[in-house]
């Protein structure tokens, strides 16, 4: 396929879409699938055929519409209305336009798209979610798909692609926020002709599903980002490392790679240029630590998924000892829009040091849960109260947790913090990959810390001593606190172990494992204290009741 063919195919698909009177987009992301989206879509298709409307109405699957707690969701393309928790008979009403009775019946199921949950979003990464059919290449082409790759390989030099990226100010969306442009340049400048692109899709933080939604809803977007990266740094091979639990994502990615190869968008001559790029999927076997880049590399190489000390960093010595560029799914999903609209456009969104948008998976006790994409700099308070609607039963927010097991809790009083890398780190948490768990007054912060420590203990690979043995000890100490059996010396030991893990562990998993505990010590020391005192009082009470 040449870039001209690409334009023609996109135009033809757009014309085909406009030929329909109505297009119904059924969310087929994992959240909606779990509450019957597949059956709903099948039923709706059957109803369309039964009423002989196939020429007028199109029913298609699409990526995550966002409000996962209210699935299955259906979007009506003609007016952008979104309907929630539809039954097949209710969905049938969507096929009766102009029918006032049907419209009235549907009104109760219509989501208020002017609600802050939708209105405050700015969608770049998720712009195709709800519009594009993840299983049809044409659908992606009609949404300007692969036009950025076409522009890169036919109009831009490698240096120009790198310059756009640098100008965009994009930073890694995997958590640490390393400037993506700098990383790409590091790999581009390495000598040698064998280089690799790796997409880290081993999303494992509890409660986080941003990357899964992108992979399931817009798989071509990630492939396009990887191919542009390959062109820019001089790599001809990409690996997509997907966690094995994401069966649907893997299936859609496999389909997308096949389609893209068949159409010459990937393969020996990308868009009829001299650039060759191939993408292969590697499936993780269920180890959280494989999200750490050196462990991920070891896993792709077929070894045991264990990290190794850095330096050397992967841009210098990565997969099979060759220069390797590793970015996560959301980072790659940002590439195509940056090349399409230019780095300056992207840099205009967000804050001074954090550009663009960030996708958060809002979970916990809020009224609305699901995926939101907000510009960097949006106050956490806006996300928690306005967008997610605060605590469901009118209770009070106590704290939010970001960054998963590597992050920390942020108390309610600090919710005016803007979403950016530095603010969150300053507050003792981190951006992380985008999990955001909201907790109410009933939540015990010590218990939250204990839960995350248990997670790290179970996920420690066991290579280095501080993480392997230290997480076991820290978890046991936290259990003692939760059971009200801890003493002063336990608190001192907990702090000492925390310092050891942070400073002496081999990889990020161990180094950040104490973060949830440290944030409790910082913001909720009274909760730990209460348990200490409780212990002393209980001992005193026991002593008082003892017979003399």
């Amino acid at each position: 396929m040449t870039p001209e063919d690409l334009n023609e195919r996109a135009a033809a698909e757009r014309a085909r879409q406009q030929g329909f009177r109505e297009r119904l987009h059924c969310c087929t992301a994992a959240g909606c699938l779990s509450c019957g989206a597949e059956e709903l879509k099948r039923d709706l298709t059957a109803q369309v055929e039964a009423r002989a409307l196939s020429q007028q109405v199109e029913v298609q699957g699409t990526g995550c519409l966002g409000l996962c707690s209210r699935g299955p969701l259906v979007r009506r393309a003609s007016d952008g209305a979104v309907f929630h928790e539809l039954t097949p008979s209710e969905a049938g009403l969507l096929l009766q336009p102009g029918d006032a009775a049907a419209e009235a019946a549907l009104a109760a199921k219509r989501l208020d798209t002017a609600h802050p949950f939708f209105a405050h979003q700015q969608r770049i990464v998720l712009e195709n979610a709800g519009r594009v059919d993840p299983e049809r290449l044409e659908s992606y082409l009609a949404a300007d798909g692969y036009s950025a790759l076409a522009r890169a390989v036919s109009e831009l030099s490698r240096q120009e692609v790198l310059a756009e990226l640098r100008a965009s100010g994009l930073r890694g969306r995997g958590g640490a926020g390393y400037p993506t442009g700098v990383k790409w340049e590091l790999v581009a400048k390495q000598p040698g002709t064998t280089k690799y692109i790796v997409c880290n899709a081993d999303e494992g933080d509890p409660g986080a599903f941003m990357d899964r939604s992108v992979l399931e809803g817009d798989p071509h977007r990630v492939l396009e980002g990887m191919a542009i990266a390959g062109y820019a740094v001089g790599a001809n091979q990409g690996y997509l490392y997907v966690r094995g639990e994401y069966a649907l994502a893997i299936q859609r990615l496999q389909g997308a790679i096949r389609q893209a190869e068949r159409e010459g968008l990937l393969g020996p001559r990308v868009l009829d240029s001299a650039f060759r790029f191939r993408v292969d999927i590697r499936i993780g076997a269920g180890a959280f630590v494989c999200g750490e880049e050196t462990a991920l590399i070891a896993s792709i190489e077929g070894g045991r998924g264990e990290p190794r000390p850095r330096p050397p960093y992967p841009p210098e010595k990565g997969l099979w000892g060759q220069p390797t560029l590793i970015n996560n799914v959301e980072t790659f999903a940002n590439i195509a829009p940056i090349i399409r609209h230019g780095g300056a456009w992207f840099a205009a969104i967000g804050t001074e040091r954090s550009k663009g948008t960030k996708v958060f998976a809002v979970a916990g006790k809020t009224a609305h849960t699901g995926l939101v994409e907000v510009p960097m700099g949006t106050p956490l308070r806006t996300i928690v109260y306005e967008m997610a609607g605060g605590i469901a039963d009118g209770g009070r927010v106590k704290a939010i947790q970001t960054g998963g097991p590597s992050g920390g809790c942020i108390p309610e009083r600090l919710l005016d913090l803007p979403v950016d890398y530095e603010s969150l780190v300053g507050a003792g948490s981190m951006m992380g990959s985008g999990g955001l768990i909201v907790m109410d007054e009933a939540s015990c912060m010590v218990d939250v810390a204990r839960y995350f420590m248990e997670f790290c203990r179970d996920e420690s690979c066991g290579k280095c001593v501080p993480c392997r043995a230290g997480t076991v000890q820290m978890h046991q100490l936290l259990e003692r606190f939760c059971a009200g059996q801890a003493g002063e010396h336990d608190l001192a030991l907990l702090k000492e172990l925390g310092t050891l893990l942070r400073e002496a562990s081999l990889c990020g998993l161990g180094q950040t494992a104490p973060n949830p505990v440290l944030s409790v010590l910082r913001y909720f020391p009274e909760e730990l204290d209460q348990r200490l005192h409780h212990d002393a009082e209980a001992a005193a009470a026991a002593a008082a009741t003892e017979p003399a």
Partner: protein, 239 residues
């Protein structure tokens, strides 16, 4: 090859480019505690005992896997490092079942030596008393996992020097265990050549020759250096 000049503990030392801080310090007579490192095998940076402070770098670096650089200012001893090393060794004692009084390696044990040199007289963290098996199925050697510290020297010598790769680890975290071949008893592992190199490099009494009684198991580390030197100089090739 270029030579780098650096400072370790205030002493000016030189090291060939590409050599590790650990080896450079060793040549200069500076001893850094270690458990997983052993001369002649690849390094993995797992025990974290050789962590050192390098001026201008916020993080601690494993001396065994950090290459010398011109003008580096390195400290191998400090209050912080001492505290970390002590706690790491305490964690190791608590993690397994280390009972010196009944151990074949009593008096010749690197873990014991570390505890002595770091001034450990008691363990502050909770003993885990794990249930770990003893594999005595091999004709000449015994693997007692109760005494294993997972330094993986045995694994590496078996793979890198003997070329058999009989031993490896399975499981993760606290469930980590040393296995032979595909997790079968050592005696049935067909890849094992019974060379005994694993026994010689083991820092504790986890691997020992059958027939040793308490304190009788002394280990010979020199062989490794002979083999590695011979290999580097191609001494087994007829010229």
């Amino acid at each position: 090859m270029s030579v780098k000049t650096l400072t370790i503990n205030g002493k000016t030392v030189t090291g060939l480019a590409g050599t590790s801080l650990f080896n450079t310090a060793w040549e200069a007579g500076i001893r850094i505690p270690r458990l997983c490192h052993i001369g002649g095998l690849s390094d993995i940076g797992a025990c974290r005992l050789c962590l050192v402070e390098i001026e201008g770098r916020p993080r601690l670096h494993p001396a065994c896997m950090t290459e010398v650089e011109e003008g580096m200012v390195v400290r191998t001893e400090s209050e912080r490092l001492h505290a970390h090393r002590k706690l790491i060794v305490e964690l190791l004692f608590a993690e397994g079942n280390h009972v010196c009084a009944v151990c074949v390696s009593n008096g010749h044990c690197e873990l014991q030596d570390l505890a002595t040199s770091l001034g450990i007289d008691h363990v502050r963290v909770a003993y885990q008393h794990p249930r770990r098996p003893v594999d005595a199925s091999h004709a000449r050697f015994t693997l007692d996992l109760n005494r294993c510290v997972f330094c993986r020297r045995c694994m590496r010598v078996c793979d890198e020097v003997e070329g058999a790769h009989t031993l490896d680890v399975a499981g993760r975290g606290a469930e980590l265990r040393l296995i032979a071949d595909l997790g079968q008893s050592w005696g049935t592992a067909e890849s094992c050549t019974s060379c005994g190199k694993c026994v010689q490099v083991c820092p504790t009494g986890a691997l020992f020759a059958k027939g040793s009684a308490v304190g009788e198991m002394t280990k010979n580390r020199a062989f490794l250096q002979y083999i590695v030197t011979a290999r580097e100089k191609h001494e087994w090739i007829r010229k």
